[in-house]
Symmetry: C2
Subunit: 580 residues, 2 copies
């Protein structure tokens, strides 16, 4: 009981050794992360098409719940760019942005995603996330970065435009170009340029000025806060809101409210698939970050427990006015670098954000949307990595095809179709690769007991015996290939009397492959040729013994290939050797 409680509540582990040193580290980290999270949360809510407070609310309860159920000591859970984009895309299908229905759909999506993650965790199905190959994830993240940056151009230009695919967005922007607000362009452009400089130039500058690496890093990370403060002051002082600059406006001064996700069957049906997609992509992002950070301190992450932690966090978001969340890369790294020792740092961050939600929201009234858009653009462009195309091209054309297709389809048809196609293509390419396994015809290396490929080595063969070494497990995708190959080989040589399949590399024979072997045995039998097996692995042999194949086999099963050779071809081979 206790150990199962501990499995589901990692807090019981780290909680009992908590001391004042850890408390100090966690508090420092929490202050730094809180300051960074305020503009980030507002910005990602904007990206998801939700009111700004949704971003803050989505960072409070989820962080607390993850602190109780999660296994990572440094992961910071909350809104992230890619999940915000996926949220906008999914709920844009069921409700109009800005309506109450839109916000409720976001809660529903978070609730579904939480329930799904929780179920995966309880049933220990975390391995399902592995069906996303790295090239697909890389392609998807790159394309998402481009889509997200493009989606923010309208805020930087001060125009209205929509669309979920690249073409729709570009078309929307072009058709509203006449409405550009040049003051907004100046603010957005200025903030973007500033933030790029902060990212590239400030840290080296601070280091050259003698700052410690940690301080230089925090200085660079504080860039968005500076941009927020300066542009808010400018808009307030010059009353630019009246001049047409879109601003955040009134944000309720309140702790996260208790909210209820919409549960209409229609909504649930429409949002179920997007919720699954968001959950899996969020999980993959989160676990990558968590494992990277944990490895640095030789800590372990339990993927199934992580699912439970993220599931609880998303359920928390659903009932407290948030939207789907996951472990974010930038916030977690800041948390880790700032010295967070335990998940308590997350709890303190949540408290900091709660204070901000109650006390600081009036301060962001004049914050221009263009500044938030600038922070998003600068953050996501660092996700864009076309280098993956070159790296996969050099290494493997199949992987390249998966990346390229994922990028193109995500840009052209939207995030959901893009990532789904990438997954299907990866699996299809894998099946294709294993559908034509390497099969070598082997012969005896003279003077040894070894058998080698007859095309590469000088080996002894016998025209009445063909030995084929199969370098792959046999299953339905390659079963017929092998059958065709054996029968084709058998039709070639008139003197052939024995076919030996050398199974040293066959880890599995599934039912389809078994039926194919039975058919091969039958057909070779019709041709007057015996089929033999050699070097069959133990587990494979155990399974073959449960069925009739071994009784029906026209030939025998040999423990070693050399035994097979001695029994079937020795006389011939010796005669051949004597004649040489």
């Amino acid at each position: 009981m206790t150990s199962s409680l501990r499995r589901y509540l990692p807090i019981l582990d780290w909680g009992r050794s908590y001391d004042s040193a850890a408390l100090t580290s966690d508090l420092v980290a929490a202050v730094i992360v809180t300051i960074m999270l305020i503009p980030q949360s507002l910005a990602y809510a904007l990206l998801a098409g939700l009111p700004p407070e949704a971003g803050i609310y989505a960072s409070i309860a989820p962080i607390l719940l993850y602190a109780i159920f999660g296994t990572s000591r440094a992961l910071a859970v909350g809104p992230v760019a890619v999940v915000s984009l996926l949220t906008a895309s999914a709920i844009g299908e069921v409700a109009e942005q800005g309506t109450a229905g839109y916000a409720v759909a976001a809660l529903t999506l978070a609730g579904l995603s939480g329930a799904f993650l929780l179920a995966l965790g309880v049933f220990r199905l975390g391995f399902l996330a592995n069906f996303l190959s790295h090239p697909v994830i890389a392609g998807f993240i790159t394309a998402s970065g481009i889509l997200i940056a493009t989606s923010q151009v309208k805020h930087l230009l001060g125009i209205e435009a929509g669309g979920h695919t690249l073409i729709e967005m570009v078309h929307g922007i072009l058709s509203h170009l006449g409405e550009i607000s040049w003051i907004t362009v100046a603010i957005g452009g200025g903030a973007t340029a500033f933030l790029f400089w902060v990212r590239k130039g400030l840290k080296p500058l601070l280091l050259r000025m003698g700052a410690s690496p940690l301080l230089a890093d925090i200085g660079a990370k504080a860039g968005p806060v500076a941009a927020v403060v300066v542009t808010t002051l400018v808009v307030w002082l010059l009353d630019l809101g009246a001049a047409g600059v879109a601003i955040v406006g009134e944000v309720p001064q309140s702790l996260p409210p208790l909210t209820m996700p919409g549960l209409s069957p229609e909504h649930l049906r429409q949002l179920a698939l997007p919720a699954v997609l968001i959950s899996i992509i969020g999980f993959v992002e989160s676990i990558s970050v968590a494992q990277t950070l944990a490895a640095k301190k030789r800590q372990r992450i339990d993927p199934d427990q992580e699912l439970i932690g993220l599931g609880a966090a998303n359920l928390g978001a659903a009932f407290t006015g948030g939207y789907p969340v996951t472990g974010g890369f930038s916030r977690s790294v800041v948390n880790f670098d700032a010295g967070a020792e335990t998940p308590a740092a997350g709890a303190f961050t949540a408290a900091g954000l709660a204070i901000a939600a109650v006390a600081l929201t009036p301060l962001v009234y004049y914050l221009p949307n263009a500044t938030l858009a600038a922070t998003i653009v600068v953050a996501v462009l660092s996700l864009v990595d076309f280098g993956i195309l070159k790296r996969t091209w050099t290494y493997s054309r199949g992987d390249f095809a998966a990346v390229a297709a994922t990028i193109l389809l995500t840009l052209a048809l939207g995030v959901e179709i893009g990532v789904a196609s990438g997954v299907v293509l990866s699996i299809a390419l894998h099946l294709f690769k294993t559908s034509r396994p390497h099969v070598a015809e082997v012969g005896l290396v003279p003077g040894t007991h070894h058998f080698r490929n007859i095309n590469r080595h000088d080996v002894t063969t016998d025209p009445s015996v063909v030995t084929l070494r199969i370098d792959e497990s046999l299953y339905f995708v390659n079963a017929r290939f092998l059958e065709d190959l054996i029968l084709a080989r058998a039709a070639e040589t008139e003197e052939l009397r024995h076919v030996v399949l050398m199974c040293s590399a066959v880890n599995e024979i599934d039912f389809s492959a078994l039926e194919s072997l039975e058919e091969t045995n039958r057909r070779l039998g019709d041709m007057g040729i015996e089929l033999h097996l050699s070097e069959v692995k133990g587990p494979v042999m155990d399974r073959l013994k449960t069925c009739h194949f071994l009784q029906d086999l026209t030939g025998r099963v040999f423990l070693s290939q050399y035994d097979a050779w001695r029994a079937l071809a020795r006389a011939e081979a010796e005669r051949g050797a004597a004649a040489e």
Copy 2:
């Protein structure tokens, strides 16, 4: 040029050695097959919901075209039960049975299917059919047999009823039970009982009476013709058509007409997916039959050329009033047993059917639908094989799950969803099996150069070196599993300094697995542990050399595991051995 012509026109091969002996054999086979095909073609048209002549037309041009392009010498192409059912299910979605639109949709479906098969053949993509595992095919055929038999119950009872799933059909039958025509039941029941007796009892009886096996076989196969003749006479003589027995009625006396498939984008879109499904299932059925028969004469079937042959046959059906066709099991076996030597037998059969279409159609005016239904029921019930459940259960639970799901889903949700789910499930089960590859921690067998599993053998180990032997290719589905496993193992032992991956069974490392290895290398590096590889296969090594992995590797690549052991642990091991 000539050889590529020959590849696409197998008729050039067998045509030049054609002689009068082959001619005689082919003619005899054609007469027997023609007699059998007349009732069968009418029956399958009924099953597809099409007018009876469509079944005959679908047997004429397709047979001729297959004779030119196909590679099997005995395959008989035309309507078959499963494809007829799939046709009814697909075109039932787009048009009302009995309307002109329904027949046009059948032509469109044949045209799409023909084009798809042709494309697969030209691009040599025949291997795609392998994605259907044997258990899925077996489950699908069994469920289809039940569905087909159930769909004919209405004809045997003389009632109107519809539905594409088992529940719909049973519900339809039950709600029309009040309208039963008892004369129809008598005819249908009598024909069914007679045909079952013919199948089980007639052949042994004929053999006991001294008939030759061939004659006994032909006698048994002629059963349906006898049932047709007798029941037609009874209906005609007693004028049972007026008494409410549904009859075939007027069938146009004509050669196959020239027809044009519907090409509206809406139709094409709706029928594209069913056409793909019909093509693949038809191809799988056809190639199985063709290969079984070819093996008996040591002939070869070229799967890609078969696709071209079947594609041409379906295009032929589309333009001559037919519907989707494929190589049928029963007709091909009859053709083979009756002595067909070359595809010319098919051409003669086509001529026979053409004569029948022109001259004999008035004779089937009084043929009761119940008799045709009886021939279908008796034929398809032989396809039903629940034994596959038991066989797969004994051999492999994964394969059993695939069969059971395919049967249940086909019966409950219809043929298309059933077979699609079966395919997805088979692939998912395969991915799941390879997602947790067997990994053994190995140690040195004292006094040898061999390494064996430390849990099974008494081997020498060293606490500072862990060697893991990986028994599977590394790709995205299992990449993270291995990463987790290595890191978990590394976190266990404090003294650990070296991890060696023994790659003798790794046939491939894809890009995801490469990135996982890079990440593992980095994380182990953070823990102060070196990562080494041993026994990497040539092609895998070639690929690794194209990227940075080998430069970044903290450890080394050893040609043999023994080299690795000597370099990393020998001193330790010797010290250990001396102390013992």
